[in-house]
Symmetry: C2
Subunit: 145 residues, 2 copies
């Protein structure tokens, strides 16, 4: 743990506004989707892209996806989505958390458009395994020296 | 998105056994705690250390902690804890997810021991804001070329 104990300058934590938080989210392509699976909290790393303010994620695990949201569930289920860039040594960086309804992407044209841009974290056919998350609550923090 | 579309070699996904997953978790000091807050999925980046197989995390947000687990709740609440090291460009790397009961660390000697080794993600007094997560379910994936 020695590497984590060096003295650091005082740090400043800033809350990010919605626009800046979503901009940062769009600057990376990996995040983590948070959901409830059999009444337990669950989390998976996934690949994402932005479609306007919506977050499109691709799940590499069909069984997980099915537990998140059924295709026929047009309202969707509430999930959280997190992405961050935090330095492993200094712990400076940012974290953004979006909470909102996730629904399956079922439109064939949309799926085709996203599949060209979304690489799954693990190899898998895209199929219909894409979700659209509409950001309802957006929070973000940035930690600087 | 051009940077995310380069052709990559076929990738291999390996499931990690419990010992390897916990070893990898102990090789980093940042992760994300996943919990339920007012019936919604929630996630926060936090700092952690290993105490045997247990994960000790420090929350920088007292209100969040209170919603995770009350001091008097000796059984604790089920949370998930995730850490990963995934290359932003190639997406190769590993992810570990632990699910288990989280309880407050209330013993003064333990708190003193952990506070010397745990730096919060943001500046905050440790106080009693530490949780011990006993890993019940441990899963891990490693993605290699």
């Amino acid at each position: 743990m020695a590497g984590h104990r060096e003295t650091v300058a005082p740090r400043r934590m800033a809350h990010l506004d919605r626009a800046e938080a979503l901009r940062l989210l769009g600057s990376v392509s990996l995040g983590r989707i948070v959901f409830t699976q059999q009444a337990l909290p669950a989390i998976r790393p996934v690949n994402h892209l932005m479609d306007g303010e919506d977050i499109i994620v691709r799940l590499h695990d069909g069984a997980t996806l099915a537990s998140v949201v059924a295709p026929a569930d047009t309202r969707g289920v509430v999930v959280a989505y997190e992405a961050d860039v935090i330095d492993a040594r200094t712990h400076l960086g940012w974290s953004v958390v979006v909470t909102g309804y996730a629904r399956r992407v079922t439109d064939a044209a949309e799926l085709a458009r996203f599949s060209n841009r979304l690489r799954p974290w693990a190899d898998a056919p895209l199929g219909d395994a894409a979700l659209r998350i509409r950001p309802d609550l957006v929070t973000g923090l940035r930690l600087t020296e």
